[in-house]
Assembly symmetry: none
Homo-oligomer: 121 residues x 4
DNA sequence: GTGGTCTAGACCACA
DNA sequence: GTGGTCTAGACCACC
């Protein structure tokens, strides 16, 4: 689990952490049950405030990516394959919708957009 | 020119206005030289503060979409077709690259992605 | 007397007119006694409001470049050679002081500045 | 970092602040990474509104002189020496060209102009 | 009438 | 604590 933060990025640091962990869980790189390092460790290694790390963890717990066992720390939450797929699709669709909206606003047709997509793939 | 704001959206109001005007200029819906309604008018119609509208206008002026003639009002700035195309491509490519990256990470093929795109268009 | 205005310039239109006439008077291109075209003529030719032209004329009269004879229009005011020179020097010194201030703020020495000046001369 | 504002000056306060900070960054007086005092502090010390300070900061951020880390404050942005030099030259040359043009129109020689410059330095 | 600037005071997200 | 955004209302220069 290689976490990193970019302070120059406009997205909040706690959000950067959230995205990285969520992506690793969804891709399977972080298997359910895997223990996470203590907050204070992450905090020191990344050079960010413990409060910031705690914020990220809280959102991850809220969204079902992590769970906490008092006294033992945080772990990757169990997640069904169906659930995983649905989250993955949700993310992809959101991204697609944004791109499509941008293209329509700029007067680009579906054909042109698909051509550009194949080009970048 | 149909402007609208969504106060529940997390993106700032002035940013929402910016995106809408910029898109209309880039798509050609707003031709160079077209006068914009006075800030006070836009402000009243949208129910937002004059200053919020001004913030959006300021960024649009800075980025070359609008120009202002004090005492006469604001106008769509002249823009070369080449410049317009390059801006359109820049905006779209950023969005496309993000979507493509997400799709590849999930093992979605270009064909499948294009099918999804056409579906949402 | 070739007047022109640039609406895209950030300096007010009436100021642009002022500067052009003042420069022509100081350089001698407009001799004392020369009649100026009527305001409404200038207004039409330049495509600017009569009020704008009037503002420029007013400042020029106030600063002694023009004088008005009711019923006959405006004329270039008589100006002594000493007066002309003093105004010219005043303008040049103001320009120099601004440049020097800028150079000092940027940490450029007098020698470096002079070298750049000779280069551009 | 000694900031000051002159309310009698015709140039906007936020512009005065912009020029002062930009000059200090370009001259090297403010090194990259240096933290700036909080907006609220600057605001109180200068006796101007927080928003006026914010306006200046906003332009400085936009133009790459500063960067902001919400929650931590504003900092002098990293800038390459080459970039710094090019900006310095750009600023000075604009000022120099204006002065030189005025001098030539008055028949002042380069030597005379340089003498005047050294005198005012 | 227009836009340009400034003020005082507020609420929010982030660290 | 920090900066980011928004409001309501004011004064000015310009056209």
């Amino acid at each position: 689990m290689n976490l990193s933060v970019n302070p120059n990025d406009k997205t909040p640091i706690y959000r950067q952490l959230y995205e990285q962990i969520a992506a690793e869980v969804l891709s399977g790189a972080l298997a359910p049950g895997t223990p996470l390092p203590p907050i204070r460790t992450v905090s020191k290694e990344l050079g960010v405030s413990m409060i910031t790390v705690r914020s990220a963890w809280e959102e991850l717990i809220r969204d079902g990516y992590l769970l906490t066992r008092t006294g033992s720390g945080c772990f990757v939450a169990p997640i069904s394959e169906a659930h995983r797929q649905s989250k993955v699709n949700e993310k992809l669709l959101a991204s697609i919708d944004e791109t499509v909206a941008g293209a329509r606003a700029l007067g680009v047709t579906a054909d042109e957009l698909c051509a550009m997509i194949r080009d970048r793939f």
